[in-house]
Symmetry: C2
Subunit: 282 residues, 2 copies
């Protein structure tokens, strides 16, 4: 039994990682070894105190305990620390000129109705109407036929339908559109509004201690699927929103900010144009 087998402050990372068994998969070994290295690196860099450690344990425990089938506080934590966007960025590095991803968010619902182009997805009659239109194309500018465009947004009061069951009509501000040969899409929704993420739990308290607000800038969600192209999960953001540069989940990318212009000649108050460029499958 040599000294080298024991944990010491200096050798803490090596001591922990040396315990992994021979049968551990290479990927799990890589991930855990890196996690332990960075976790210990953090504790050493700040010389975390016993009291701070206790606060952390208590915070993580409350974060787990507030979760239920409708609320996922650990995702909020990941979002507000920029981890969700970082994972998304790493997994969706795309060529310049193609549409960037952003966070999926917790409010997508499978099974929204497939609608004809031009349909109105705002079923509660609230908010300022907006025509959404544009094209789905490949990097060479060719239209993509058969792209499935799933859209969803909050209503004019800042809530998604699933946050207000019974109060909002089912599938309010949701729909699925499928492009024709010209790759075009168009539908009516509302000009969405900014809203705070749920901030009455541990993550909201954390944001408060950090002098941060819980707001997200107004955005319309889009998910585009096509068999021959890489899926796009993204939002378009409303130009001029107060929270564009301080989105609490760091979701904004400059290429996704869209000018909402007054629709002088049309039936809606606003018009928002955005073209999607999908990356062909490798």
């Amino acid at each position: 039994m040599s000294q080298i087998d024991y944990f010491t402050e200096d050798r803490s990372v090596e001591a922990v990682n040396a315990r992994m068994g021979d049968e551990v998969s290479p990927r799990l070994r890589e991930v855990m070894a890196s996690l332990v290295k960075h976790l210990h690196g953090f504790v050493k860099e700040v010389e975390l105190t016993q009291e701070e450690w206790e606060v952390t344990i208590e915070f993580l425990t409350r974060t787990g305990q507030i979760c239920d089938d409708k609320r996922q506080e650990f995702i909020l934590l990941s979002d507000t620390l920029g981890v969700s966007m970082l994972v998304d960025a790493i997994q969706h590095r795309r060529p310049p000129g193609t549409t960037e991803n952003t966070v999926f968010g917790p409010f997508h619902v499978d099974g929204a109705p497939v609608l004809d182009m031009g349909a109105n997805i705002s079923l509660d009659g609230k908010g300022e109407t907006c025509l959404y239109e544009g094209r789905v194309q490949d990097p060479d500018g060719n239209p993509i036929e058969g792209a499935r465009i799933d859209v969803w947004s909050d209503n004019s009061e800042g809530f998604y339908d699933v946050q207000q069951p019974g109060e909002q009509p089912e599938w309010n501000n949701r729909g699925v559109f499928i492009t024709g040969a010209d790759g075009r899409y168009w539908f009516t929704g509302i000009k969405p509004v900014s809203y705070p993420i749920p901030d009455d739990g541990p993550v909201g308290q954390m944001l408060g201690h950090l002098g941060r607000h819980p707001w997200r800038p107004a955005h319309m969600h889009f998910m585009l699927n096509h068999p021959n192209h890489e899926r796009i999960v993204t939002h378009t953001f409303v130009s001029g929103d107060d929270y564009l540069t301080s989105d609490t989940v760091f979701g904004v990318k400059e290429s996704l900010v869209v000018d909402y212009v007054l629709n002088e000649s049309g039936e809606t108050k606003w018009k928002a144009h955005f073209d999607f460029v999908m990356v062909p499958n490798q």
Copy 2:
């Protein structure tokens, strides 16, 4: 609005940390900035996938949800990743020749009875008896009078009394002793046994995936308090235990391993000698 305000993969750490408000306390700012740096460093180093992120969110959620007033799974997680020992090591760097700390553990109970020197703390009559004896002294070898020695261990079946309320006598294998002018202590307990940490939850599953066992080597807990000296929280470990070099919580230090010798001339089967050296308050 310049590009620099938005989150990118390259600038993820700076983007998140720039959000902290001006009023944040310097220490919280330091801790959070380091946490974000190391957390993002981990995600970038392994290029964490969306699926791995989802597994992590789910793991943390379950870890929080299994916690209750008797079980603290996040402390187990901290323990098994070496974080608890690391925090303890950083906070209790002591001069050579003084008694080293180790983890406090979850099984201490305040209010154990103060007993006369020589008393027997094993109330269930199970296990192999052992005389614990030694001296409490300062770094110059002077005895420390009035040191309060709080001791606790599992019983011969590997359970603390608080894990088996109603089954074990109250205060089984617990007691408090106060040193006299000679600084000596002596009491009868049992030779403790190794035991697994609770491994039927997320942390146990993690250990399984990592090819690790959940066992702790046999140990007797000691907490020493004296008004003029730094508190000691430590264990003594039973020499020869199978798990000395693989304690699942990394608690073993070489200086804390004690030979249990047959007590040929005494009333107990075993004898374990250990001298404590306390560091005077600064």
